[in-house]
């Protein structure tokens, strides 16, 4: 049967197509497992004031939740851009991940504070519930408070324009302010 002879070639063609597709996929990119689910409940202290807060404190929405720490070099790299976003009116909440309070306050005093609120996750329990695996990470919360996107790595203008415009259409361009 003639068709049988072409079977190996056919199978290989499919394999080659798969591999070609694979070249444009990043195998290390891990989407948030909690995508589409509400932000996990928590009860943790905040950096600047006394008392503890829960997920209800993450208001107004849509908002960004930025996981950062003073021991994280890339966090320093993305910090200026976060300040810029805050200037444009994007609500940003900070999650200070396994860090030291004094160092964190000093950092914010020196470099500026883009965060409306900074949750202190000293033990990393909220990070574990979110599925954080390395700073910096930035989560997008929609109006309902569900996690709709996660970006792992430095957040900059290019990434914002590519992935975040859906929820922040007016704050994407330079010079925008609210």
């Amino acid at each position: 049967m003639p068709v049988k002879r072409f079977l190996p070639l056919g199978v290989f063609a499919l394999l080659a197509l798969l591999l070609f597709r694979g070249l444009s996929i990043d195998p290390t990119a891990l989407p948030a497992a909690r995508l589409g689910q509400p932000f996990p409940e928590f009860s943790l202290p905040v950096l600047q004031t006394e008392g503890t807060v829960g997920a209800t404190a993450l208001d107004p929405r849509p908002a960004l939740v930025n996981v950062w720490a003073t021991w994280c070099y890339s966090c320093r790299v993305e910090h200026p851009y976060l300040l810029e976003l805050a200037r444009r009116g994007v609500p940003i909440f900070g999650l200070n991940y396994k860090d030291d309070n004094d160092k964190a306050r000093e950092w914010l005093a020196q470099l500026g504070n883009p965060y409306r609120l900074n949750v202190v996750d000293a033990a990393g329990t909220l990070g574990l519930d979110l599925g954080v695996y390395g700073a910096p990470e930035t989560y997008v919360l929609d109006e309902r408070g569900d996690i709709v996107h996660r970006h792992v790595g430095v957040l900059d203008q290019a990434v914002f324009e590519r992935d975040f415009m859906r929820w922040f259409p007016r704050q994407g361009s330079q010079g925008a302010s609210d």
Binding site: A16, G22, L23, P27
Partner: protein, 663 residues
């Protein structure tokens, strides 16, 4: 100057390879003897210039020429000279150059040792190999030039070779592995040449067999060495991780195993022709696929070179051309190639067919497991991981399936045999080995372990069958011939390889089932017990090395009250990169390894320590050595050496006549 010489040599080699790929091939279709005769010369020419290029790169490394980019990225002035040498292939660009060097070595060997082959055949074989060389040389020159320079900002010193690679294992592991990978291009070239000529009878099989066996033997040795290296270097006591890069080397081996057996059948009986050709194509294709997987960044792996999708695209296109082209050729030529089935359901051919099938399924299973995450990701079905738990669960039963056949196979008859005869021959050994299996498994560890008993059963079964076969041949061989002559190199090699396989299986099962491990905190003068052994931490010290500083812990190991070894595991901090590495201390013996590794320091005077007792782990690698050397020995068989002798041309002519008569 020297790097530029290397660069120019590489370009010359590329041009010569182009000539080699085109001219003799064209000549073979036009019966142009002059063009065909160019093949060996061009092959040697390519080899010479690739060798020069490799030498220039080596000189750059050994002389600390940090103006060459790869030297700056992978070497350091404090690096011991032997590692400066191995750093040549400890990176993507240099390892590619090694690939091409070894390919040209094989080309030269084929060119020099094939005087008995018809000119059309040999010119096509060398042309195909030349075309492969063209692909790799183009890849190197266009995307991965090892001679790129860092001028004018030449760094004062280099980044140092990754400490994990600063080890004797790195010196031999890649070359051995590449000898195998690249060597599989020889049966591939023979298969293509045979398809082009339309004649896939027993002769192409006989010509390719020694080359295939040697290549497969080197691949076996390379894989085994990699496993041993990971064991003592990585500090965890593991020896196989089913990592994509490991699988990339294992799949050609699996297909190569089927090929080695299939070639034997095609040579002796003229059947399995389609299978053997396909296996030859697939084995080398899997080598190329491995090259793609390791260097393109498509899969994550601890072993992968720095990932670059651009390079990946180049290799993919090359892969598409080579594999797609050869499979297309197969599809077009297949009808003229298929053999009649003239053997029964119960016969040696049938058993070897089962062998082919099981190894083919094993290869597909490993390929599927390795690519599954990619498939799911490509169809946006989520991110999955496939690791050792999966592979062990599906692969082990397949290998267990093949082992009973390894004893029946050698005693079975070609064409037609009967199961009753098999049972008659093998019932007694089967009963004996079953009893022994139960006894040994209980005796070895004090408790009956089903898996170990099964492993002893299957492995013992193979060894018993092999011993029986040897005895038969020695006592019933050609009368008058001296005893040792009755065992051909081919037979001895096969025997060693089968025994080696049995040893690997036994070692793997025993070490998986009976490894004992303890993680604990130990301070000076503390003693820990593991099984029948006592580990006493005597003292902590520091020691400098050539390019590192080490923290050491000195252990005294005793058994039944007697001190049997002093083990000194280390924690090394490499000066150039600041990286910290663990050096495990191992007390090795045939029946068990004692393994001590340091974790992190706890306070000023204590460490987290891992103690391991690993029974029969050496059998894994000794078995691998047997497999590799067994394969290499088969190439020394009289009938291949006869091919090389002066009257080789006469032999060839006689063969042609005899074959023509018998058709």
């Amino acid at each position: 100057m020297i790097p530029e010489l290397g660069h120019v040599s590489l370009i010359i080699a590329f041009v010569l390879a182009l000539g080699l790929g085109a001219v003799p091939l064209w000549g073979s279709f036009r019966a142009n003897v002059a063009a065909m005769n160019l093949a060996p010369t061009l092959a040697v020419g390519v080899s010479v210039f690739v060798a020069i290029a490799f030498a220039m790169l080596t000189i750059s490394f050994l002389s600390d020429d940090f103006s060459v980019a790869v030297v700056a990225a992978n070497s350091n002035s404090l690096l011991p000279p032997i590692f400066k040498f191995s750093a040549v292939w400890g990176n993507h660009e240099g390892s590619l150059l090694l690939w091409v060097l070894i390919l040209s070595g094989w080309m030269t060997a084929v060119a020099c040792l094939s005087s008995a082959l018809p000119l059309t055949m040999i010119s096509r074989v060398l042309s195909v190999m030349g075309l492969i060389a063209v692909g790799f040389l183009a890849f190197s020159l266009l995307t991965s030039n090892p001679f790129e320079r860092l001028l004018p900002n030449t760094p004062l010193d280099g980044n140092d070779l990754n400490p994990l690679l600063q080890d004797p294992g790195l010196i031999i592991h890649p070359p051995l592995l590449y000898m195998g990978y690249v060597g599989l291009s020889v049966p591939f070239a023979f298969a293509i040449a045979a398809l082009l000529s339309g004649r896939l009878d027993a002769s192409w099989a006989r010509w390719s067999r020694p080359w295939t066996n040697v290549a497969w033997g080197f691949l076996s040795l390379g894989i085994m060495l990699g496993s041993w290296w990971a064991y003592y270097e990585l500090g965890w006591g593991g020896w196989w991780f089913w990592d994509p890069v490991e699988n990339a080397s294992f799949m050609p081996w699996l297909m190569g195993t089927a090929l080695v057996h299939s070639l034997a059948v095609t040579e002796k009986r003229g059947v399995f022709r389609s299978w053997t050709v396909l296996l030859a194509i697939f084995a080398f294709s899997l080598s190329l696929l491995g090259t793609f997987l390791v260097r393109s960044g498509v899969l994550t792996s601890v072993h992968a070179f720095a990932a670059d999708p651009e390079r990946g695209l180049f290799i993919l296109i090359f892969l598409a051309i080579v594999v797609g082209g050869s499979l297309l050729l197969y599809a077009l030529r297949a009808p003229s190639v298929a053999s009649r089935v003239n053997y029964g359901l119960v016969s040696r051919e049938a058993l070897l067919m089962v062998n082919n099938l099981v190894f083919a399924v094993a290869t597909i299973v490993v390929l599927l497991g390795t690519l599954f995450p990619l498939v799911m990701d490509a169809f946006s079905l989520g991110k999955y991981s496939v690791g050792p738990p999966y592979f062990n669960a599906v692969f082990v039963p397949l290998m267990a399936l093949v082992m009973p056949f390894m004893t029946v196979g050698p005693i079975s008859r070609w064409r037609e045999d009967s199961t009753r005869r098999w049972m008659h021959e093998l019932l007694v050994p089967a009963a004996v080995i079953s009893v022994l299996a139960v006894l040994f498994s209980w005796f070895g560890s004090g408790a009956f372990n089903l898996w170990v008993a099964l492993a002893i059963l299957l492995a013992g079964w193979v060894v018993l069958g092999v011993a029986r076969d040897v005895w038969r041949r020695l006592t019933q061989g050609a009368q008058g011939a001296p005893r040792w002559r009755r065992l051909s190199a081919s037979f001895i090699g096969m025997t060693l390889a089968h025994v080696g396989f049995a040893a690997v299986v036994l070692g793997a099962v025993v070490v998986s089932q009976h490894t004992e491990e303890r993680d604990l905190r130990m301070a000076v003068d503390e003693v820990a017990e593991l099984g029948e052994y006592r580990f006493a931490l005597k003292r902590l010290s520091q020691a400098p090395g050539p390019n590192y500083v080490a923290d050491q812990a000195v252990f005294e190991v005793s058994h039944s009250g007697r001190v049997i070894a002093t083990l000194i595991p280390e924690k090394r901090r490499y000066l150039a990169s600041g990286q910290v590495m663990t050096e495990a201390a191992i007390e090795a013996s045939l029946w068990r390894d004692l393994y001590v590794a340091l974790g992190e320091p706890i306070g000023a005077d204590a460490w987290a320590v891992r103690l391991q007792y690993k029974p029969m782990v050496r059998w894994l690698w000794l078995g691998g050595l047997l497999i590799g050397f067994g394969a290499l020995i088969t190439a020394l068989d009289r009938r291949y050496r006869a091919q090389l002798s002066r009257s080789a041309a006469v032999t060839a002519a006689v063969d042609e006549q005899v074959l023509g008569l018998a058709r």
